[in-house]
Symmetry: C2
Subunit: 555 residues, 2 copies
């Protein structure tokens, strides 16, 4: 056990889509020097995380091993890869490495926490490399749905790892570098120990499509639109934003970017030189003076987010602009599972305004940023790794990815969050299980997913909440009647009198029946009152609410 | 205005998918005799209706006009058409007409409310008709994803209406009657005033596919499966259930039906004679003694419902059966928008058990029960109506359906819930707007969607709940400190001391500052305490919770 070893430990993103965080280490067991690849967020929903603002990986293990961490390396600037950098910097405080565009975004995230920009070091792409502890790390350009996405070439004394990051095999991505199989083959020819690989689209059986196919369809649509055109897409898909803007400009329309994220991304892309020929943009204040048929808005909110520009426009006037009969609204995007209802709601609100909605249901106006099944096999064929380690996927994706690798006679290992894999020998093996989980950013504080706080909120949402207040006098006898407040419960039930009255009567009866043993014991008293409330509510309205009992003793 | 008129009034299902309820009337304005077509439910979700059990149409208008209602006519036995029959019978109490299979299901729903079965009258299909008030109603067989779905031929002195119900143009539906264009043309040849038509799939540009195509693909899959096979589909899709069972039987497997709805539907279909040749079924208790490779389960829960058989099997042992490595789980279904996360969760749990999951992503194992765009146009061509009235769709579906009708040089009218349409003249016109909405079945009581009860539950889920208790003595001075209870909120915030302590201190300070004017006025006092709680929480944890203040006065 004292031999040096090469380890891989996913802390987020393996067994889920979102909040990516992967750790590599080299050294003696327990003393490995570490690099962290990506530190992203996931997004909350009403089902499981009501009221939560963001979901972050649980970095308890990283904090405990902080002195062993050499650096945080970011592959690209999507929120699920860079989103937690600001929220965790105070706890980790390690140097951050990224390419220029990603570094620009990361610096803005740190600035929100008052951290200086020099914490982020800008790296040039391969063949340049950076020595980080026992590793040498190079950024290998690859196409994705955001500029400057990079695979990582991670060299250790135990061999070379190729970490793909998120990718697709696009030879014409329009913005950012194209997929260059020769470059990747060249990097791999000396032998690759492990290919740690994106699994998102493993179930899509056809080869991926290039970003270049979207342009002509969008151009035709925009050219034929008689009135105002609004298009939404992922703000970070700078190539798509440019495609949309170009279609507008060619149709003689002035372009307005609406939504903070949309402007921020274009700005970062221009600042870092990845975007050079974006059509001229007019400020939203000028939109009112431009005839509708000469105007095109490119807006945030393709996932139906309630506060983004798309939702605002669907509800009414936004930034002085109001959509009308005959306007066109294009969703140049796909709907991420879970967001369907929000997106459909917007479409129906637009329909009520007489706006014509076009989406990607026929596949003309969007392409995915991830490699499909045949592309994943192509990647394996190019890199020829000894082991395939699927990442960036739910359990079913990782499992399928292992399966297709084995069908190709390659070793594959299914490693989910918390499984530390020893990659040193010829066959990968599980070295250890680390406790992992999720941390919620809730308002301005971080809480644990298992703290019970969000569970209580879900219970109140499902069951309602009853508050019982009781004052006990100096003789440990009830002073007056117990008092009941309802929140989120029907006011009247089976008895056809106010539920509050029925509850107060039943609680009064319970107190009348109770002896000193109960009345002097807070726990017993609360438990008894709680039981009465739940029974009575169940009889009256068929629900068992959450109950808070407050007993005040004057003694 | 004293002329007799023919009206159409959707109360549910027009402007949404779910809880269908359409009213037809004939007579002098305000005195029309009415028939209600379908009375269905919609299903709640955590986003908008947490804790709610079912969503029903608001029948306030029907209750107010109860003495004018001649009958309730049910087109088919899907929950969104028949589901509210039991919950509303006490309020409406009108006779119910349906064909045998639908009547069987409706009687079971009424039985749950202690209503005798004779409330439901079984009708034979066209050419038989029933005189109901000023109307003559005939049930016109058509194919759908449930047996005995029927269009309605509704004759009134002002002309004939064809109400399609839910339908597809399937000439080989396997169970139930096939689409018979000659029959529909024959019914229509004397002239149809209005075609009131299903709009669900108006955005699907290709012609619908027949139920018959599913069989061979399923058969191949099941025959090749090495171990246990589990298949889930909509229980009411009796044809599909039979297809699945036949595939199992042909592969030499014993068939087990799992889930109450699955057994109930097959039972109803057998009882009413629509299903004659279902393979033999073994009780679940016998499953343990059958080798896995000779067993097939057909189970409920294709939409990821937490308590249905699919979810139970994905979690662990259910009815003595446990899924294992190498088993096959088939989703012979589509995922209804909003249910994606639940379904995906099950798939991942199955993946963790090593079960191979197959779904319909490639289109081999499911076909829709609704007419696609070309089918809707075919229906118009067969019926040749004077007016097309789209129903059964969200606003965007209805609008598109009107559009394609107009493109075909037909009159179309977009009528959403609450719009009473006068169909008497040559052109349809809006006669009146009726207030409509939704009623929630919440536990055992019905509450209004706008009562604020569910809104309070959502607010507690998003913001948490703080309870402040304060006792005021006989001199209207606080007796001791205010007491704070938190539910669903972080215990510690910015100050790094318990939030409860910070709140109690701030509330104490507020009380110390407050004069008699505040202390003697319950409203002022509560408002002041509430404001302090929200401000302090916002400073400490960045959230503004819901607050309940209980002030007890000893005076």
């Amino acid at each position: 056990m004292s031999e040096e070893r090469l380890i891989y430990l996913p802390l987020g993103g393996a067994g889920e889509i979102g909040m990516n965080c992967y750790v590599y280490g080299y050294g003696k067991p327990g003393e490995e020097r570490l690099i962290v690849v990506d530190l992203g967020v996931a997004f909350p929903d009403m089902d499981g995380t009501p009221g939560v603002d963001l979901i972050l990986p649980d970095i308890t293990w990283l904090k405990a091993n902080k002195n062993r961490i050499e650096a945080l390396v970011i592959t690209h600037a999507h929120e699920d890869h860079v989103g937690a950098v600001g929220h965790t910097f105070e706890d980790l405080g390690v140097p951050i490495y990224a390419r220029a565009f990603t570094a620009n975004i990361a610096r803005h995230k740190l600035a929100e926490y008052g951290v200086e920009g020099q914490a982020v070091k800008t790296c040039s792409p391969w063949p340049e490399t950076t020595k980080i502890g026992p590793f040498t790390v190079g950024f290998l350009p690859i196409s994705h749905s955001i500029p400057e996405s990079s695979g990582l070439v991670i060299d250790s004394p135990a061999g070379r790892i190729v970490h793909t990051g998120d990718f697709k095999l696009d030879t014409q991505p329009l913005v950012g570098e194209a997929w260059d199989p020769d470059l990747w083959a060249d990097v791999s020819k000396a032998g690759v120990k492990a290919l740690v690989c994106d699994s998102t689209n493993v179930f899509t059986p056809t080869a991926g499509r290039s970003e270049v196919i979207v342009g002509p369809a969008v151009e035709k649509l925009v050219a034929e639109a008689p009135r105002l055109v609004v298009a939404t897409t992922f703000a970070s898909n700078v190539a798509r934003v440019r495609t949309l803007a170009e279609a507008g400009a060619r149709a003689g329309r002035s372009i307005v970017l609406l939504g903070r994220a949309m402007r921020r991304m274009v700005e970062a892309a221009v600042e870092t030189g990845v975007l050079k020929d974006f059509p001229p943009v007019v400020p939203v204040e000028d939109a009112a003076s431009i005839p509708r048929e000469n105007l095109m808005l490119i807006v945030t909110g393709s996932q139906g987010e309630r506060r983004a520009a798309s939702a605002q426009l669907s509800r009414g006037k936004f930034n002085g602009i109001e959509l009308k009969e005959g306007d066109l609204f294009l969703f140049s995007s796909k709907t991420i599972p879970g967001n369907e209802k929000g997106v459909i709601h917007i479409m129906n609100q637009l329909s009520e305004k007489g706006v014509d909605v076009v989406d990607d249901s026929m596949g003309d106006y969007h392409v995915s940023g991830h490699a499909n099944r045949p592309d994943l096999l192509t990647m394996q064929d190019v890199v020829q790794p000894q082991i395939v380690v699927p990442m960036h996927g739910e359990h079913r994706h990782l499992r399928e990815h292992v399966k297709i690798s084995k069908d190709r006679n390659r070793q594959g290992i299914l490693a989910v969050n918390g499984m530390m894999i020893d990659l040193t020998g010829n066959a990968p093996k599980v070295a250890e299980y680390i406790e992992t989980g999720r941390t919620y950013l809730d308002g301005s504080v971080q809480i644990g997913a298992l703290d019970g706080i969000v569970r209580d909120r879900i219970r109140m949402a499902l069951n309602g909440h009853v508050v019982v207040t009781l004052i006990m006098d100096e003789e440990d006898e009830p002073l007056g009647e117990p008092w009941v407040d309802l929140m989120g419960l029907a006011e009247t039930g089976r008895s056809n009198v106010p539920l509050v009255d029925v509850l107060e009567a039943d609680l009064g009866q319970f107190l009348g029946r109770s002896g000193a043993k109960t009345l002097t014991d807070d726990d017993k008293l609360e438990e008894g009152l709680r039981r009465v409330v739940r029974q009575t509510c169940n009889t009256e309205i068929g629900k068992k609410p959450e109950v808070t009992v407050v007993v005040s003793r004057l003694s």
